[in-house]
């Protein structure tokens, strides 16, 4: 704690020095440092923080919009925006808070400083109606274009859902893109059901406009890309999100802190346990609860099992996208076996909801460790089979090498985290850089790639599974060595029934290394038992944010491979 404090103090000093004449107020809450700044010079401040070597906040983790309508004390500045910045090499984190007036919530866009801000700002605009001046394409991101109102504003009713009258053609964005390429097409018109049709008199050299998705075999979840292709080569791509948008963040505000846990299950449905744990960890930090060592190790164990499940879900379908169906089955068999274990423990196969704030609801069942052991053994066999099938196979090698490569610099600017960032060669893993849950006491290595292409992303995941197996084995040994009286059973008894939880008023950003990257929860409490605002920093959204630049210039078959290897989970992107 003291170490954190000194770090925070020195950071405060540096930041206020950088800001110069501008007055900056600092707040600290549960280890998160907040700096309140003026909205006018946000661009220069963020650029300064990014480029100064002593701060080097090179990654914009998240932009959180807040509507403080019913947050006491009431001020004239109804809206707030929080920029969560982190430094990948220095390891510190800061939240820059900006107050915006109620009547004209406007702020300069920082999308020129951080590429990922493009989508994050669109999301804030969508949900709160905050206008970002100078944003290249300020459209709604998750809700449909004709949506009336801004759902996450506090005066928007929770049951205010609206029917989508028609799908969007996305041609406005496509026309701009093609115009920039010097290939404007005027001949495109819109047909029935939003399909694009070309006039019969269209020019032969006009690009071919084709919709990929929302229902297409490669889009795991539901995504849509409007492509302009010449032959097989994609010259322009326009993504559209929001097909799985369920307003989870709005829903979270309606229940109490316990009732958020089932919602987190449904975000990244490939590894629900990690979401449960990430959320509970953030709330525990707010409440100042420190869980027992046994629980910590158990959480590590479940996290790593979740990581294996998630990576299996990524690798199998990725190979299916490449046309190899068989490895998918080898990998999914193992996933089923992990499901079986999780079902035995939690009672459900997919949506576990099986972590409670401060504890676990159930004790481990008899024979849990043996079953995990046997699954790990099967996993090794399956990985081996799959590697023999594809690793040195030239078809696979050619399909993946140098496809969708991204430089570390671009990856950071686009907010990449997790395996996708590590594949570029950058050693950034929250388990090592900001250890939580005794991760520092486990012996494991961070896996990095070389040039961030599909092949690297694939094998970073493969090797990470092997590292996870190592961690799980250590965790099992440690759990076995623990005296049985410190087991979860006691915690389970204690958590029978739901205690009222009301964290002290304040805000916190806390993150864990989920399978896809940094899974963050930004929680604001107003002191009541209901969370005032929960913002989920979804790794998939940021990992997907560079998709346009990654696919343009590649072929359709490469697009398939790139989307597969990014492991975009629709439920997590759209929330």
């Amino acid at each position: 704690m003291t170490e954190n404090n000194t770090q925070a103090v020195s950071l405060q000093r540096i930041v206020s020095q950088l800001a110069g004449n501008d007055h900056i107020e600092f707040e600290e809450n549960c280890g998160s440092l907040f700096a309140v700044v003026d909205s006018k010079n946000i661009i220069s401040l963020l650029t300064l923080l990014r480029d100064t070597p002593s701060t080097h906040f090179d990654m914009l983790v998240d932009i959180v919009g807040i509507d403080s309508l019913s947050l006491t004390p009431i001020t004239a500045n109804r809206f707030q925006i929080v920029y969560v910045l982190t430094s990948t090499d220095l390891g510190h984190r800061i939240c820059i808070k900006v107050h915006l007036p109620s009547d004209t919530p406007e702020i300069p866009s920082v999308s020129s400083v951080f590429a990922v801000a493009n989508w994050l700002e669109r999301e804030v605009f969508d949900q709160f109606g905050i206008v970002f001046q100078g944003h290249p394409n300020l459209k709604r991101l998750l809700n449909f274009q004709g949506f009336a109102g801004h759902p996450l504003r506090k005066d928007f009713p929770i049951n205010g859902r609206q029917a989508i009258p028609e799908s969007e053609d996305l041609l406005d964005e496509m026309k701009i893109k093609l115009g920039k390429l010097g290939k404007p097409i005027e001949s495109i018109k819109i047909g029935e059901c939003g399909n694009t049709l070309e006039k019969e008199t269209s020019n032969d050299s006009d690009p071919f406009i084709v919709n990929l998705g929302p229902a297409h075999p490669i889009v795991h979840g539901i995504l849509r890309l409007l492509l302009a292709v010449e032959g097989e080569t994609i010259i322009a791509a326009v993504p559209e999100l929001g097909y799985l948008h369920r307003g989870a963040e709005k829903n979270c505000e309606a229940g109490n802190y316990h009732q958020v846990i089932p919602y987190t299950d449904r975000m990244n449905y490939a590894s629900p346990m990690m979401n449960n744990i990430g959320y509970c960890k953030a709330v525990e930090k707010m409440l100042g609860i420190i869980i027992s060592e046994h629980d910590m190790i158990l959480r590590v164990l479940f996290c790593e099992l979740g990581r294996i499940m998630d990576h299996l879900l990524c690798l199998g379908p990725h190979l299916v996208d490449l046309g190899a169906l068989t490895p998918f089955w080898f990998l999914f068999q193992i996933r089923e076996k992990i499901y079986d274990i999780m079902e035995k423990y939690s009672g459900a196969r997919l949506t576990y909801s099986c972590v409670r704030i401060g504890s676990f609801p159930f004790p481990l069942y008899e024979g849990f460790t043996d079953e995990v052991e046997s699954v790990l053994k099967d996993l090794a066999g399956a990985i081996d089979d799959v590697r023999r099938l594809v690793e040195r196979n030239r078809i696979f090698y050619d399909r993946c090498c140098n496809v969708g490569a991204i430089t570390p610099h671009d990856a950071i600017r686009n907010g990449f985290t997790g395996p996708c960032l590590r594949a570029t060669g950058l050693e950034y893993d929250l388990r090592k850089n900001k250890p939580y849950y005794l991760y520092e006491t486990f012996d494991f290595s961070v896996v990095v790639g070389t040039n961030g292409d599909t092949y690297d992303r694939f094998f970073v995941r493969v090797y990470e599974m092997i590292e996870s197996v190592k961690i799980i084995r250590q965790a099992i040994t440690r759990i076995k060595a623990m005296p049985p009286d410190s087991s979860v059973a006691e915690g389970a008894k204690k958590s029978k029934g739901f205690k009222k939880i009301a964290p002290p008023a304040g805000a916190i950003y806390d993150s864990t290394e989920a399978a896809n990257g940094e899974l963050g929860f930004f929680i604001i409490s107003d002191g009541s038992p209901k969370p005032y605002r929960i913002k989920v920093r979804s790794p998939s959204l940021c990992n997907y944010s560079a998709i346009e630049s990654m696919v343009e210039g590649t072929m359709i078959a490469d697009l398939v491979s790139i989307i597969g290897s990014l492991n975009v989970i629709g439920g997590e992107i759209d929330r």
């Binding site: 084709v210 190979l319 299916v320 046309g323 169906l325 068989t326 080898f330 196979n393």
Partner: protein, 435 residues
């Protein structure tokens, strides 16, 4: 009119119709076999059980019966013609591919000439001297089906597929032709009957003089090119279901079924052609037709012994499966085991009977010739079956190539190798005398 009929060779007409029916029956039968293989092999490779439910009076035959259920389903399904298609091209495409698939078998010989008395019946539907050139010509037509199907659908994804397939099939046809040039140089003929007959010889006294031995590189090239012509993984770009879904997206019901069946018919035709060109056709290694005829009794006994041991292995596996099974069907399917055992027992009895029969009954020449023909047809079907198996097996092992990589493989690797193969073959033929 009378003139025409009197001059008609009735024997020729009769045997040709008979052979044509046999060849078509074989091709159509192999559609079922190939679909069955596809389903069951992929299931077992992927650690699944595959089809095991569809049954007629409890008979499932390990999922073979599902084919009939499929056929019935596809026949009775609503035949939707999308409003935007170009009707003529759209309708003609499935017809072309099925016709082409059924024509391929016309020139493939499936046994040695049947000699009954002084009548010689060549055992291929058409005994024409252009041989495999006919096959190359016919199969190259199938690209029209894919292109017309994709183009006629007037939809974007099928158009991608049409574009891909036209480029792919035309490029690989060149390789396919080139890979056979070496074979022609070695055997000195394009006539499939003569080519197969020559493959009965021995090289160095022990190695069967099969095409694969004489032309290993040509064989590999031809097999790869055939896979590409068949649109099978790793060359299934026109169907690449995870990328562009395929050229037959807009088809439904029986029109789709024709595409589907033609794919599997084509697999058999390709397997038959590969067998004929490179794996000795109907030739049983080290067992020429004369030897069979001379030692008919022993050959029959050995065949029967093989059949008997095969039956016992199958029975053993069945027994193991049934004794370990953890669930029970609650209908006639539970009785299927008895039927299978009965069939196996019948085959076992017949093979024992054949052994006894061969011991005590003298063979006349008709019996000898028909024994040889039956054995040769059997071995031809077995070889084709194994190649079909391999084609399916490859599909469930490999990922798919990308469009440009496919072209690079065809033009930059296979074409030069094919030309080099011709040169090397020519050099060897010149340098090594008497070969």
């Amino acid at each position: 009119m009378t003139n025409f009929f009197t001059h008609l060779d009735w024997l020729f007409l009769g045997t040709t119709i008979g052979k044509a029916v046999f060849a078509w029956g074989l091709t159509l039968g192999f559609i079922l076999v190939n679909i069955f293989l596809e389903r069951k092999i992929c299931a077992f490779i992927q650690d699944r059980v595959g089809p095991n439910r569809a049954n007629v009076l409890g008979i499932r035959l390990f999922g073979f019966v599902l084919n009939f259920a499929d056929a019935v389903k596809l026949l009775f399904k609503e035949d939707i013609t999308p409003p935007f298609v170009n009707k003529f091209y759209y309708f003609i495409a499935p017809l072309i591919i099925m016709t082409v698939a059924l024509m391929g078998m016309a020139v493939v010989p499936f046994a040695d000439d049947l000699v009954i008395g002084n009548i010689v019946i060549p055992m291929s539907v058409l005994d024409i001297n252009v041989g495999f050139l006919f096959i190359l010509a016919i199969t190259s037509l199938s690209v029209y089906s894919l292109v017309l199907g994709g183009f006629g659908s007037n939809s974007k994804y099928p158009l991608f597929a049409a574009m891909r397939s036209s480029a792919q099939m035309i490029s690989y046809e060149i390789v396919m032709g080139l890979s056979l040039v070496g074979l022609v140089m070695v055997f000195g003929t394009v006539h499939l009957r003569e080519m197969t007959a020559m493959q009965g010889g021995l090289l160095f006294g022990f190695l069967p003089k099969w095409g694969v031995v004489m032309q290993p590189v040509g064989c590999i090239l031809f097999c790869i090119a055939s896979l590409a012509e068949l649109n099978r993984t790793p060359f299934d770009l026109p169907e690449g279901e995870s990328e562009i879904i395929g050229f037959h997206v807009e088809y439904s019901s029986m029109k789709f079924a024709l595409f589907f069946m033609a794919e599997y018919a084509n697999i058999f035709v390709a397997a038959a052609v590969i067998t004929t060109l490179f794996f000795g056709g109907w030739q049983i290694p080290w067992l020429p037709t004369e030897t069979i005829k001379e030692n008919a009794a022993i050959v029959l006994q050995i065949t029967a012994a093989f059949a008997f041991s095969g039956v016992s292995i199958v029975a053993f596996l069945l027994h193991r499966f049934y004794s370990k099974r953890k669930y029970k069907w609650k209908d006639l399917r539970e009785k299927e085991g008895m039927l299978l055992y009965a069939v196996l027992a019948c085959i076992a009895l017949i093979s024992i009977g054949a052994i006894v029969f061969a011991q005590y009954v003298p063979f006349n020449s008709i019996l000898k010739s028909s024994l040889a023909a039956v054995l040769q047809i059997g071995i031809f079907i077995l070889k084709s079956f194994l190649i079909c198996f391999t084609v399916v097996w490859i599909r469930w092992t490999l990922p798919r190539l990308r469009y440009d990589q496919l072209m690079a493989l065809g033009w930059k690797i296979m074409l030069p190798v094919g030309i080099a193969n011709i040169l090397v073959t020519g050099l060897i033929l010149i340098l090594v005398p008497g070969k």
